[in-house]
Symmetry: D2
Subunit: 349 residues, 4 copies
């Protein structure tokens, strides 16, 4: 039984962490902080938690957090990096669900997040928490940068062809047409988020540039072990009038070698032992509702031409795309069963 | 051709007024104000208007407004009453879509809207703009208090039994279980309004008290010409995960006289000449989508027992419940065809 | 570990039973039948189940069902009653999620369901599975009629005032204005169910008569131990554009005795030991999303006048209103912890 | 004033035609047919039409249709082609909203629609009704094949670069990632269409092949006047949980010549005189709600790299993608003002 802290419990990743951790057999949530709601029982804010916890929000007290075995940061960008040093000195592990420890490229971080990085040295040793791809390094990490939601769908969608011995795809051809439910933007009182602006509507956004682009580029370079071409990736996110769910439709050109391979078999073999990545049979179409509330990512493949591959990659943005993957990383870090607390079945319908 | 001003054009009633008035053959919208967006073309904020108008928001300039024949206030409560005096002195008519001129009872106004009334004398002569019931007084009014959305469904739903020579219903028995789409709360960046808090969800709100309760009480007392019993009316609003649409389910006890009447026939006769009130055949259920975007209110009646009447009353909260009725009142005030600009068919599906 | 069968696994209550039972530690689902899909893996129909079960649909074989300890019928009305005799003879318990064993009044059953009852003798000994109210009888029952979704909200909403020693409410005054998500109508390819007919829309239905009315009347008579007045109950269901969720807004007149009691305290005491019924603090409004996917019913009380009580009663129609309560009943029947398999937290947002 | 017939008035394109034509000043709808609903007032099926028409459905009587000046077919594929001969002999024009007269390639028609073409000779002279591109031929056409919804977004999105003197894009590079509201699938009682299967969900469909692919290929070949490369176009449609609305995100590689041009200026010039095509300013994102109910298509352009163009193309699938464009074609055919009956402003919110 480990002791867990959550910093920033008033957002959607915060309440989702609670939903998962309160039913996790190996952890106890000890502290939950909020700048604005200290003293308020969390179940007053999120009535879904009534009867499941008596926790109240408290002010952030670093000494209390240091007594935890691990602290999740479900905060805006820039918070975790201010506290990481103190926590790791106290041997408290850190899992940041924001972007502080995602990008090794400091210039990109500063460009896209508009702040200087507070602890570049810690960042160097931080591990990018894409569980399936970095499992070994996560085991011994002190600080995890939990991946962005879009980048998770892209990396798991492309890893099998990027990890192959020979180049199977042309990096510069990658087009990611991504679609997300509205909860991906968090729990913020902004005009763009209100119901009547989003319901019965569809649009692209961030076409001219999105923070997840540099994360995707860096991550794919790392996965493939090569540099060339990824910076040309096209990434266009769209907003879907639904609460949860994310689908990336990824288009790539195959090399001659890629064109000759049985990619369906390649993907199935690559993810054979993964509990949370599901390569669906040929001809399938992963629906976001099939993973609603579940720590699952589903993939389907199509080859419209000999040299073109379409990858459909679906997840719940708040689970495998955020809180679920964070708990999965915690399970890896502490040697728990990787699916402990994460074996729930998606809510369909 | 009259000249029209709109004060407060950035909300949903503002854009809805524009949708209707820009196609109205007898008016020209001359000025559109916004405290925060002066200089911005309105079509930049509401792209549905691209190609239909070159109007830009301007600061509120009372001298410009005085040159209009009529000014609509699509503002928060308390704005219209500050400018009414200057406008009527310039012979400019005022139609307020907020609450400043709805309640004759000043104590109630001050209690529910938390402000002193700025011009009680003007209020006394202001006309409550429930078009079908107050048509004659509207014709000669200088200032109109456009009714609240819920009160419109209730008044039109109950008027035929309240206007009868003999008491047909028991006022103290009235229960109004009302349901509204989210746009009824306006275009506000508040946490309670955001998509993920409202989609796939249903709840009651304001059960302990809602501003439309005193408006309903006062209006029903006026319609019926009697005082007793209406203050006991039960009014429970609910929030429906849809953009537009409002349905009130009204339960009333019939008197012995009411129980013996053919109420279906009574309602049909009462609204026979009304273009915008539709008494549906017995057994119907008015759907909100049947009036989506249309200045129409549909009513259906049920008698589960000899002494009980159920009235279903549906409208688009932004049209017959707000901007449409305001234009209808303008048409009456200026002697235009009452349905000019308002004959559009609801958008179904 | 008991062995479970599910008859009719292609509907929403079927897949919901699977979602709950596949994670239940004391049961194994052995057989899942479908008239139309025999041979098909259930995860092909419901991809949310991929990775969680290898079960395939099979034809209904009564000999296979007899080997189960309990069989759930998630079928249309009229199926369970045909097989109940054979099953109880084999000592297999029956939990019917349809209406075959809900109504003791055969005339009402035949009137509303359009069929003769196949086994009135078994019906006599069947137990109405409102878990909290009939726990003792459920423990020893062979056949359970699982309550309808609307009736569950009404009974749990009214039980505390109906079970009191003295009459606290006037039965003939009860008005139930009920609202349900679309999944309550099941998984049926009918025009009225399609997306574009239901989204962004709100309406009442079944105002002239609904099958749950006689069930509510009979159940409330039983709970209160008296006959008078309940047949006059008004029950008006409405359809909400959401998948799951149900809220009943119940209006009742209080007797003088009821008016003097602290009803909030009465309700809290009544449900103090119940895991699945939550009496919220005064002033609350239960949201359906707070119980999305959870076997929970939340209640809030309002007293607009001394002699009027408003009860808000919310649940997930597929869980506490159907599959969840069925599993709860199974837990009671077999002596399992009542919350085994049912302790999941609602999915919010 | 011309006389209009509508064959197949029970679907969504049928009711949408009525919404537009009943307010059109130059037409009178004389007859509305339905195989299944003959005798029923259309307003009984579509209550949004109550008060706007007394029309009732009738059986298809070719002699009655022959008395019309124009007949719209809002029917399943294969109906219009059976009646076209008789109608044009009677000098009655035909506008088919299904696919009978869209594809000149008979082999493709038969492959994708599973039927032999009934009148290839008429097809040869039929005009593809993409109003902006084929205006002259439409003026004198007897038979119009009204374009599919997806193909409309693609053709108007690509026409400016395809119509240029020099090749500006590489046809084989075109990727169309398209998204549609559920009404695009029509008004059909099928399991895949029901609310609870589509709400709060997102998925691709028809990835392995969709009927609009050959239509897009043929149309783009025609527009560009060249054959090569278009058959390799990638087209992946997705289903959005909204009623109306369609957005195509189109990715194309630019030639060196295309890379050097000011494409924003090219598009603005190309559509300068078009009332229904709106090239938005650089940096815009067309939202589907901005055209809800309006006969408008909005385009925005992005150039992520020197040789890559992204085109966002949004419309209401039932208006510019179906009924609206059909009315626009009728206006052209009969010499009416092209925007008569089509100048309504989109319903936002």
């Amino acid at each position: 039984m480990i002791s867990v802290g959550i910093v920033g419990g008033t957002g959607y990743t915060g309440v989702e962490l609670l939903r998962l951790l309160l039913k996790h057999r190996d952890v106890q949530v000890r502290v939950l902080t909020s700048r604005t709601e200290a003293g308020k029982p969390v179940a007053d804010m999120f009535p879904s938690l009534r009867g499941h916890t008596g926790l109240a929000f408290s002010d952030l007290d670093i000494d209390v957090l240091k007594q935890c075995d691990v602290v999740f940061f479900a905060t805006p960008h820039g918070v975790a990096m201010k506290h990481a040093q103190a926590l790791i000195e106290a041997n408290t592990k850190v899992i940041d669900l924001a972007a502080d420890f995602r990008l090794q490229n400091l210039a990109q971080f500063e460009k896209w997040y508009g702040m200087e990085h507070a602890c570049p040295d810690i960042l160097k040793n931080a591990v990018y928490g894409l569980s399936e791809l970095n499992r070994e390094r996560i085991q011994s990490a002190m600080v995890i940068g939990n991946p962005g939601c879009y980048p998770t769908t892209v990396q798991l969608g492309l890893a099998p062809v990027l990890k192959a011995d020979k180049p199977l795809i042309k990096p510069e051809s990658i087009i990611i047409d991504a679609k997300s439910g509205v909860s991906g933007a968090g729990r913020k009182a902004s005009m763009g988020m209100i119901y009547s602006e989003n319901a019965d509507n569809f649009k692209a956004y961030g076409v001219a540039g999105h923070r997840h682009h540099p994360e995707i580029v860096e991550a794919l370079e790392t996965i493939s072990g090569q540099k060339g071409g990824f910076e040309q990736i096209i990434f266009v996110p769209h907003l879907v009038p639904m609460i949860r769910g994310m689908l990336s439709t990824i288009y790539v050109d195959l090399t001659d070698e890629g064109a000759q391979l049985d990619l369906q078999a390649l993907y199935e073999a690559f993810y054979r032992d993964e509990a949370f990545v599901d390569v669906m049979p040929a001809g399938s179409s992963p629906e976001t509702r099939s993973v609603r509330g579940a720590n699952q990512l589903r993939i389907a493949l199509y080859k419209p031409h000999s040299h073109k591959l379409i990858i459909l990659s679906a997840q719940d943005n708040l689970v495998k795309g955020a809180a679920g993957q964070a708990v999965q990383n915690m399970n890896i870090m502490f040697g728990f069963a990787e699916d402990e607390g994460l074996s729930g079945i998606g809510l369909l319908p």
